[in-house]
Symmetry: C5
Subunit: 89 residues, 5 copies
């Protein structure tokens, strides 16, 4: 899983029906010290995250679909937690 | 999921039968600010996208196959939405 | 999916039984303008491709196995089409 | 699989229910000679690993879920072993 | 699939039970001309490979698990062949 920060939202009217009702968030991956890392990606939210939240992201289809239930299957990234604290050396 | 722009098409007469009828589009991945990022990839269309559209792409086999129904299984990338608007900080 | 060019073959006498009869080809990934990109990879052929062909490659286990039928399962890349033409801007 | 070193922990109160009871560890990937490589990632522990342990990490959803049992499905990385010794040339 | 060379072994006493009896090998990925490429990875052996062998490696969970039988599921890389010869241009 990766650490990220929600930085935006995306609107797509014409989309796979399986996305109806799903919230698509733009997430900036972060390093452990919370500096940005690489390019932003899109993830489906499963925990009620919003812009500015630091989140836990799974980056793989099976696990992302699992996070959302079978009906949201055509996804490859999902937000599965809101991070309270990271402790590291 | 990734943001991309459809920039072309591909013709392959001799191909896996499971692709019959599928539309293969060349997609340039984009950053959130819509500047190009990395190399173009090929994705199967599931939403009626065309050249110049900004699209939402899933990059993984299970989710790409899911977007298209089981009969299109041997794919690892699919267009699952046409993007209207991206809002980010 | 990726664009590639078949550049060689590989012989492995001692291999997983599930590969018996499969043709392993060395594929050089290409950019849309057909310049080489990154390092060559090995893919199982499912469409009768040969050296010099420009091919369509899936890079993921489920989709590669799907291209070849279940009996070829331990694969992560397969050639699923021979490219006639790429049109792009 | 990858070699890594556990360097921290993560607390996420609001998370997918399927993570209840799972221990999320921050892992620094290592080269074979145990120098750091790339950015830290988050993995679910399945073997009782702790900070400072050198660990064996699987980086893929199906295998990570398998390591933890089906109920921990929405994961893409898991610690599956604690490394005693690496011998290499 | 990737080309690699077995360069070492790994010992992990405390590990997922599903690894009991599995041989974990350290593999250096190679380019087609057999120069080293990137960092070494760990793969489970399914063909009796040993140090110095040039091997064919699958890098993905479903295919790696398939190479080893279901009981070895929590793996993301497996050695599926020993390479005799690579012919390329």
């Amino acid at each position: 899983m990766q650490i990220g920060k929600v930085i935006g939202t995306l609107v797509a009217t014409q989309k796979s029906r399986k996305f109806d009702g799903a919230k698509l968030l733009l997430v900036q991956p972060l390093n452990a010290d919370e500096t940005p890392r690489g390019t932003a990606l899109l993830a489906v939210d499963s925990v009620g995250a919003g812009v500015h939240d630091r989140v836990l992201v799974v980056l793989e289809g099976r696990s992302a679909g699992e996070a959302l239930g079978k009906k949201w299957a055509p996804v490859d990234a999902a937000i599965v937690g809101i991070i309270d604290r990271i402790d590291f050396e």
